[in-house]
Amino acid sequence: LESNDIDLQTDLFYKLNGGGSMDSMELIVSRRADELSYVTEHFRDLQGLIVVPMFLALFVCLAGAGTRHTSRPLPVSWTMALSASGTFIVALFASEAISRWYKRRFGEVLAGAPGESARRAKLRTLAVRVLIVGVCILVWESSHPSAMVLLYGTMTALFPRCFESVPAVPAIQLRRAAYIATAMLQLTLISLGNLLHPHFTALLSELLTTYLLLYLYDHWLLTRLLGHREEANQ
């Protein structure tokens, strides 16, 4: 070792020992590194605005179906089907535009750990999907269709994020807590659904509102985690 390497070791030793003050190095070692890893791994997940147009389109369609239902019930007219299709096509283009905006603003990451862990992750995802489809088929047989929609949403969008490991950063831990709370809420609604027989539109609206809030928080978290320019430049 060179002399300056030993100086570095000694300085680090005393800083860790409490003999020196916390500086940017300490901050990166203890907290920033965890944040960086998290935001890189979940970069796609945190782009919450991408799904907002689709949710808004669903809201519009639900509202349209609701007003249509009071005046003239099924069968659905061609006009209504075309309006719904048009709404979703517009939403699809809006989502694509937002995706490009994210790319221009924050760049791009090819996610996924390389090698063996990537293959394991793909197998795990496949197994989870098979499980979800199986459970939903069972629920479809024995329960109300709205319960199946809720359960499918809960298992695909919420459950995976409830069990991921998160760093000790309050904003990130709050995200996981919000996902867990929402999952619990959905499961409660599914349980009560068989007793109360809630309206399908009401359930779907509740589901969409909750998801919308979660995805808006994801977007806020992304901009917050990628906004440490001054701190790291010191």
């Binding site: 570095l8 070791q9 860790l16 020992n17 409490g18 003999g19 020196g20 760049g107 001054e230 430049n233």
Partner: protein
């Protein structure tokens, strides 16, 4: 000067520098990242990031690829196996250093020359 060799774990200066550590940490969490994402995530200026990337590439820790997309050059970086090993070794060294620093018997009590403050010596000998 020779005493700390056996006492304290070796710290890799290539990895330890905060800007390079941030870059390596980002790259360790993905397969490949482009220049803009690295700039946003690390908070480094373009010039500084470019310099640090070049140094890491010269050290054989990362690979840099430049491709042309719609008449624009897109720079991406990926962590090499050697870089991943260096980063893992760095975290291990830091953990070891932290463990030693918080251990009841502290080896640095014999080295008053390196002390940044007298209070630290008193803490080490206690």
């Amino acid at each position: 000067v020779s005493e700390p060799r056996g006492m304290l774990p070796e710290i890799d200066r290539q990895v330890h520098e905060p800007a390079r550590l941030a870059i390596l940490t980002v790259l360790s969490a993905c397969e490949r990242a482009d220049f803009l994402f690295l700039e946003r995530a690390t908070g480094l200026s373009r010039g500084n990031l470019s310099v640090q990337l070049t140094r890491l590439e010269e050290a054989g820790l990362i690979e840099i690829e430049k491709i042309i997309v719609r008449k624009k050059t897109v720079t991406t970086a990926a962590l090499l196996a050697r870089g991943r090993g260096a980063l893992d070794a760095y975290w291990q060294s830091m953990e070891e250093l932290r463990a030693r620093a918080t251990a009841p018997e502290r080896p640095t009590a014999q080295r008053p020359r390196k002390l940044p403050g007298q209070s630290a010596v008193a803490g080490g000998e206690a």
